[in-house]
Symmetry: C2
Subunit: 346 residues, 2 copies
């Protein structure tokens, strides 16, 4: 007892990636692990069974070799690090006990020993799908909340544009903005996603950016009087077109720029002078600087979920073997909604 | 009496300009004018003698054909419109009387009839050079004040970088930042200007961007620990290099982008993703939205000028004939300090 050794599948980053990541940049390897923390070890840790892992676009940058930056690279030869939902199996930390459910930073494997427990939140509400803690109730949910309400300074009736609008964050920003009383338009990359935006998430309008010859023309169609708020998830050409269409004193929450992550050379944005001329504020933000707002966020969103006022679409891949393709699929938009990996099948 | 007709030299924009403006895009023409407002005219106006005219980079965009934008084009065939200092000769406006001195929006000619009097400020302090109301005590002064104190949210000890740092706005931003307790570095385009920054305006460091093969390397030399605040006057390659060197939660006041104004195709800025990764805020601002702060600004700056705590360098061209070359000189950096035109010679 306590000495049970189990096999532990892991998703390993083989080497630093440049350009578009491929499945072969990762490998699924089986190691083994004792299902108990060593008693002689004085470091405080918890042993968890990972249930759900979160595929997030920001992870792409950690696959590159980064130097002198504010995020660390993943370590080649080691499992990928990311957000997930897990169950505590053993703990030497006074705040965690066997059976607790947590979300936060874990590693891409079946079982993990976590020492950086300050990156974990205990899950209190279990009458919602646990996978939600990788999305609507986790980091992406907080990102949408902080980005829209704190960064965009929205006012009722304002005109809001969201790119990558059916993604983990975008679908929430659009719904928050609608509930708040804004006019909301979203862009996405397929007919199916556009349908979701209009029919499931209640966006006022939506369009498939891949079918627009001129993004400037497309934006003018939906925003003849200008865009007051842009929730930026994609960067590049879309940002350039948006800048031309922003209103006086418009605000841009710079949440991500997924169109640029795999380019060796970033696309240049040419219309930044619009920021001067129209008094535009563009603001990047680091969601983990705002985690103190998490309880307030939960208080708002749990009832909205239960009352069906907010909905959330997930794309759940089953089995750790499918984690590499799920992560890579983000960059060609294969996912419909939040991309999650369920560690065990069905 | 009152029917005296005088000659009135004007600087006319001949046609819309594209690319780099030339002296020949303007012409100096002599018309005539009665030195009295018509009594039969019911519109409220003032007749002024223009004393100083202000050459400002933003004027370049008004020389182009603009459509559906927040600034109007100049009217080809009519005198150029800009900031200036003037003396009231006649008035049908209850708030202005003969002999008043004003600064604000006037036209490039010897005498103007101004109906848009809401764009004028009455000059109360005359124990400073009157030309200062085109610069330190006028729109550029307010731009520096609002941009630094309101937009940049400075904290004592922060590291500030100013581009076009010897210009009308930059020289003040640097001095404000120094008085506030910041570390300040400026860039400019000649040895003479760099000397001014270090020896007259008290910048901690300064460099000639034209002599730097790699702006990123130059910025790393002066900001090994990153830039907290960037006061952006130039755009393009400098902005790209600055983005790489910004600190976490850095702020950029986007005041102007003079390097881009004469380009048919704007340079692309490639490092905007730094804004996401480092939580950077970049904010354009329209100084005239902040003119309610002018009395507060004067209260601060008039004593600083009188006590010699703040200095201001002007480059005064004499005679309206020299206005076109003075305006154009801004775009190749011919001016040393604030470019002013004295309407009458010496």
């Amino acid at each position: 007892m306590g000495e049970v050794e189990v096999s532990n599948k892991q998703v390993i980053l083989k080497n630093y990636v440049s350009g578009f990541p491929k499945e072969s940049d990762m490998e699924v390897k089986t190691t083994s692990l004792k299902l108990k923390l060593s008693e002689g070890d004085s470091s405080v840790a918890i042993l968890v069974k990972n249930l759900y892992l979160s595929c997030d676009p920001y992870m792409r940058s950690r696959m590159s070799k980064l130097e002198g930056q504010y995020v660390d690279s993943f370590t080649p030869g080691s499992p990928i690090v990311g957000y997930g939902v897990a169950e505590v199996l053993d703990s030497s930390h006074p705040n965690f006990k066997k059976g607790d459910l947590v979300w936060g930073v874990t590693t891409w494997e079946e079982y993990s020993i976590i020492t950086a427990t300050e990156g974990l939140f205990k899950i209190q509400h279990t009458d919602v799908p646990l996978s939600y803690y990788t999305g609507i109730l986790g980091m992406p949910g907080m990102t949408a909340y902080v980005g829209f309400f704190e960064v965009c300074s929205p006012k009722k009736g304002e005109r809001v544009f969201v790119s990558a609008a059916s993604g983990a964050v975008g679908q929430l920003v659009g719904q928050f903005a609608k509930l708040f009383g804004c006019y909301v338009v979203g862009s996405a990359g397929s007919k199916e996603k556009v349908d979701l935006l209009k029919n499931k998430f209640g966006f006022d309008e939506a369009f498939n950016y891949k079918e627009e010859a001129d993004l400037n023309v497309a934006l003018k169609r939906y925003f003849p009087d200008g865009i007051d708020i842009y929730f930026e998830n994609v960067g590049g050409k879309m940002l350039d077109a948006v800048l031309l269409n922003m209103s006086l004193n418009g605000r841009i929450a710079a949440c991500g720029m997924i169109s640029q992550y795999n380019l060796e050379q970033q696309e240049g944005v040419q219309n930044l002078f619009c920021m001067v001329r129209k008094g535009i504020r563009m603001e990047g933000f680091l969601v983990f600087h705002h985690y103190h707002l998490y309880p307030k966020f939960l208080e708002m969103i749990i009832p909205q979920i239960k009352e069906g006022k907010i909905t959330y679409v997930e794309d759940i891949a089953e089995g750790l073997e499918n984690a590499p393709s799920s992560l890579i699929g983000l960059f060609s938009g294969l996912n419909i909604g939040k991309q999650v990996v369920s560690v065990t099948r069905g």
